[in-house]
């Protein structure tokens, strides 16, 4: 495999792999870093030995081990008992339930967390593009015509809020599902309209954003089949 092919597969699988890693390690930043580590290994391994049978499960397992490595390094640096407890828990958890059902649930959790109403609409869109669609921070910044530094700051604060405010990583239960689903659809619609009729920038249309919106809507439709509103 060429690095370009590896990158394409990684891009297709990264969202779901990240969603599961976040649930396993309980931390957005740690999961993102671990997935990047796994990608580095994939570039080397897949180019030489070819694609594993289930690339997504491979990424989750390697990412999980990389996360454990990172926590271990942290423990060595700071000797924190709390971190150590987390590492033990992580080690004890089953290597990875690879059924597609579980991975799909994780993806839904990720979408609902990114579109939580305690974020401003703009932040919901940015978090979704970065985390669910797997755009780079630079690409998200371009969508908002913001500088990369400013966007990195905004995303950092949002991820801090997830941790500090205890925003849950789960699909809301039945009572709250309707309004929350409307919120998710509003985010997808915002991404689409920005692509269809860009409010700022030189281009009249931003097919890249419209494409991400359609991809998101298809994904949501596949994850929650039979819902008329999607």
């Amino acid at each position: 495999m060429t690095p370009v092919e590896v990158e394409k597969i990684f891009r297709d699988e990264a969202g779901r792999a990240l969603a599961t890693l976040i649930r396993l390690v309980g931390d957005f930043d740690l999961a993102e870093d671990a997935l990047q580590d796994a990608f580095a290994v994939a570039l080397e391994r897949w180019s030489a030995a070819g694609l594993p049978t289930n690339p997504r499960a491979w990424l989750v397992n390697v990412g999980r081990n990389k996360a454990i490595d990172r926590i271990r390094r942290n423990v060595a640096l700071r000797g924190k008992q709390q971190e150590l407890t987390r590492e033990i828990l992580l080690n004890a958890s089953a290597p990875c339930e690879n059924s597609d059902g579980v991975l799909d649930d994780d993806m839904l959790r990720l979408i609902f967390t990114c579109c939580h109403p305690s974020f401003a609409a703009e932040v919901q869109v940015a978090l979704t593009l970065r985390t669910v669609c797997g755009l780079t921070t630079a690409q998200v910044a371009r969508a908002f015509l913001a500088s990369e530094d400013a966007m990195a700051q905004r995303l950092l604060r949002a991820k801090q809020k997830i941790r500090l405010a205890g925003i849950p990583y789960e699909v809301p239960d039945r009572d709250a599902l309707e309004p929350r689903l409307r919120g998710v659809l509003a985010v997808i619609y915002l991404v689409f309209t920005e692509g269809y009729a860009a409010t700022s920038g030189e281009d009249l249309m931003r097919p890249d954003l419209a494409r991400e919106a359609i991809r998101l809507a298809r994904l949501l439709d596949a994850l929650m089949p039979g819902r008329g509103e999607i």
């Binding site: 924190k80 709390q82 305690s118 500090l164 205890g166 925003i167 849950p168 709250a176």
Partner: protein, 116 residues
Amino acid sequence: MQYLLLIYRNDAEYGKMDPAERKQMSAEYGVFTQAIVQSGHFKAGDGLQPTTTATTVRVRDGKMLTTDGPFAETREQLGGYYLVEAKDLDTALGLAARIPGAKSGSIEVRPVMIYD
């Protein structure tokens, strides 16, 4: 996690409530407080006297400055609070929505800082 649910209301409108309305409201607060004590969410909670009774203290260059009134003049004022234990933000938001004052005022939900 612990969350502080800050109850904001308009002091002027609150002052204009007639005795029957006031009684009704305090009965609703009683029911709500009982419910969250029983569900194990309740940690603490109090109502506050209106901002006309407030005094604000600042220390500048080692000197204490005292002014009358609240920290900031706003349309709604802090009228009371609950400190609750909740597993996540959604649970805390659900509790906040059940506070009787949420129907006329606003509830600000703030996670309590943990020192490790």
